[in-house]
Amino acid sequence: MARTLQDKLAILSDAAKYDASCASSGGERRDARKGGLGSSGGSGICHAYTPDGRCISLLKILMTNFCIFDCAYCINRVSSNVERARFSVDEVVTLTLEFYRRNYIEGLFLSSGVIRSPDRTMADMVRIARTLRQDHGFKGYVHLKTIPDAGPDLIREAGLYADRLSINVELPQDASVRRLAPEKRPETIRAAMAQVRLEGEAATDRTFTGRRPPRFAPAGQSTQMIIGADGTDDVTILQSSTRLYTGYKLRRVYYSAFSPIPDASSALPLIQPPLLREHRLYQADWLLRFYGFTADEIATGAKAGHLDLEIDPKLAWALQHRGLFPLDVNRAAKDMLLRVPGFGTRTVDRIIAARRTRALRYEDLVRMGALIKKARPFISLPGWSPGGLTDSADLRARFAPPPQQLSLI
């Protein structure tokens, strides 16, 4: 039975929804004034939001959900009874361009199940990206998922057309990958990420003649980890992310709470997805990237390796390090201001800019975007002194949600 384009789109977008990434930001600035269609660069645009709170920025689809791999957490694994479909190159290209022209999307995020072999699959995906760029002059955003174990030449070619490449580490520990995704090899996944980093760096170096080398994925690379499918604790996850950020210069590590999938494997629990845990991990990830925290420091606020679900990780850390507080907002160094709960990077920048000309008062902080209620116990400045609040025993209880009485059955 021949499927219509609409049937295929239903199957292959349903199959793609477990990839959390949707970013369309960063990368090179370009537009269609000198021909072609589309523009990109600067901050990304989210064109719509679905009721799961995730944005739709890109047309996120699989080229096919046929797959010869058998990853237990994945709806498309070979042993799953899910309906299968496959797009032709032209179908993906047409969908992308027509959606783009109607301003539904910023571009394409193409992933795929592995068919025949990793190299053949990757070559087909690269062909789609090449057709968009070369035959249609498409200047919008293209994110390609690299297929594990695809050859280095294919990854190099993918980087010519894609703004971003990503390869999923899938699970935070090698042992879990080997257990749940027996066809995937953590060491080749890391080697591919290393290649993407090196190619990206080489593409920004000019040659002796001043000529630019060919572009390579100007928006960098990202990866995704599934949370809650194995027993890894949060601190181990954050250490793993730290290695990914330092080793491969990833723009983002996405954390995806494992959610029940239709036709699940018996290897995994069908639980409510740990959305709050996912949220805390993202907060901790921000602390790693923008606030100068290390995974080990965040760990001091964790309980038995897990982040506190009731309060955010920065507050949890600050409560364990009250000796460093209260901070004098008018004199403290930037790296310490960044550690005050309730102060974001922008607030800190504004504080530093404003205190050059005059001493800040308590009332000024609200206007600078600080979350005063949260910051109050940890700061002092004209108009406010926390007194004994910083060291009070019930400080945590002020921020944690009130305890709930268990209901009787």
Binding site: L5, Q6, L9, A10, I11, D14, A16, D31, A32, G35, G38, S39, I45, H47, A48, Y49, T50, P51, D52, G53, R54, C55, I56, L59, I61, F69, D70, V78, S79, S80, N81, F99, R101, R102, N103, Y104, G137, D174, P182, E183, R185, E187, R190, A191, M193, A194, R197, R243, Y245, T246, A257, P260, P262, L270, Q272, P273, L275, R350, A354, R367
Partner: protein, 478 residues
């Protein structure tokens, strides 16, 4: 005396700037200017045509702020901007700081305008019109502020190869054959059905994960006031109604029997996956086996096994400590800063790297993340011992006449002796494999020496040792 000013709907910023410039040049106070127009109840006079004697200067950032605030829908924005200009001219307050009340108000207005423009870029939905020649598209949009004019440049750059029109209640933007123009606004036009909208709805309904509902996140980013012009939002109530049921069905269905034929596919693929030879008999087999090595914990943090390279029948073998950051990423030994020093010294000694075997005592990079860097850490004794299996295989298969141990870790791996290097450097010892080992500095040690003279001395030592090793092995210059 008071003055009235009327500004046009289009090109309002330039008109405001011109009027404000004339007003401030005559030092007309904000209270005497009525931006609501000249046709008011107390028929005010128009501004003088010629500029007055005073010339006001404002920072560029104020102009940028004004260029944004001007599109706000609040009628008082024009007066507020002039008030701000007046204060800047008289140096009253710090208008651009968020701590100033007027500055804060203007900044909030600019922010609202910026957000409205961003939402327009996100939420305009085109429908295709019948075309002759260039393809034609049209959209109806209701912005909160007067943002079509500043917001439409974006569409002109993005959709340059088609004709399009965006109609709003106040203004209509029209892009035809590459030229952008504006017409008065109107009421919602009747746009023809577009088949792509059905596909878009299919996509919207299927990309949604019913197991994770976060309505607040959706509503804060896609405020309800935009919903009436977004075709996909009509699906949301039904999607939500079904969600719980779908998740419950998934849970009840639990695990099913695997798809028939799946096991055969898996078996076939897994059989073709590379396996580690248990007893490697050639260097290639040894390398293949080492790529799978999990004898210690280093394999989980490092990128990959860095195996040796060079001649499989080399008479001289050089052993370093472990791969560094660069070696780990590239998967080749001695390509980082220390490796470059070694290669330079080898070149000076007349040794071609292709005729020696270059390798490390430990095959995985050990490091600690610091900020954005990965800092080298010395391998532990145990890690060197675990990795000796691979070094032994290399020694047994390459069978070099002489081995150069670069640094203490290599010296320990090769000789089992962990005594300090200072007194051993330049000496030949007998290795655990029963053949001679020349001990010398590790190039990374030389790279890191802070003192220039000591560095030069150590480099000379290394050069001397490598030259004599080459000679002993019958390599290099005659």
């Amino acid at each position: 005396m008071s003055y009235g000013v009327t500004l046009p709907e289009q090109g309002m910023f330039d008109a405001w700037r011109e009027a404000a410039r004339i007003a401030i040049s005559h030092r007309i106070p904000p209270g005497e200017l009525d931006w609501a127009g000249t046709g008011g109840l107390f028929a005010a006079d128009p501004l003088p045509d010629a500029p007055g004697p005073h010339r006001a200067r404002v920072p560029r950032s104020f102009l940028k702020l004004a260029m944004s605030v001007i599109w706000h829908c609040a009628p008082e924005r024009l007066a507020l901007l002039y008030q701000a200009l007046w204060q800047i001219d008289r140096r009253e307050g710090d208008l651009l700081s968020p701590a100033d009340p007027l500055g804060r108000r203007l900044n909030l207005m600019a922010k609202a305008v910026g957000r409205d423009i961003h939402k327009m870029h996100a939420f305009v939905r085109f429908r295709e019109l019948p075309a002759t020649g260039r393809r034609r598209f049209a959209a109806w949009f209701e912005p909160e502020h007067n943002t079509l004019e500043p917001g439409s440049r974006f569409f002109a750059k993005r959709f340059a190869d088609m004709d399009w029109m965006i109609a709003t209640p106040h203004l209509t933007a029209r892009f035809e054959a590459g030229a952008l123009g504006f017409l008065p606004g109107g009421t919602r036009p009747d746009l023809p059905e577009d088949a792509s909208e059905t596909l878009w709805a299919t996509y919207f309904a299927n990309i949604f994960n019913p197991a994770r509902i976060k309505l607040d996140a959706m509503r804060s980013e896609m405020p309800k006031r935009y919903w009436k012009n977004l075709p996909e939002t009509r699906l949301i109530p039904d999607m939500l109604k079904d969600a719980e049921e779908r998740v419950a069905r998934m849970r009840e269905a639990a695990a099913t029997a695997p798809r028939p034929g799946a096991a055969a596919v898996s078996t076939r693929y897994r059989a073709a996956m590379p396996v580690a030879p248990v007893l490697p008999e050639t260097l290639d087999e040894a390398r293949a086996a080492a790529l799978h090595c999990r004898r210690c914990g280093l394999c989980e943090t490092a990128t990959q096994t860095v195996w040796g390279e060079g001649s499989a029948t080399a008479r001289l073998m050089m052993v370093g400590e472990q791969p560094g950051d660069r070696e780990d990423l590239e998967g080749r030994p001695f390509v980082g800063p220390a490796g470059q020093l070694l290669r330079a010294v080898m070149a000076e000694a007349g040794i071609d790297p292709a005729e020696v075997w270059l390798t490390n005592a430990v095959k995985h990079f050990k490091f600690a993340p610091r900020g954005k860097q990965r800092l080298h850490r010395n391998p532990a004794r145990q890690e060197i011992e675990h990795c000796r299996r691979w070094l032994d295989l290399e020694l047994a298969l390459v069978r070099p006449q002489l081995v150069v141990a670069l640094g203490a870790s290599a010296a320990f791996a090769l000789t089992g002796n962990d005594a300090p290097l200072g007194s051993r450097r330049g000496q030949i010892e007998t290795g655990l494999h029963g053949r001679p080992v020349l001990i010398t500095w590790h190039p990374a040690y030389i790279v890191r020496l802070p003192d220039r003279t000591r560095q030069a001395k150590a480099r000379k030592d290394l050069m001397l040792d490598i030259s004599s090793a080459a000679q002993a092995a019958g390599l290099g210059r005659e």
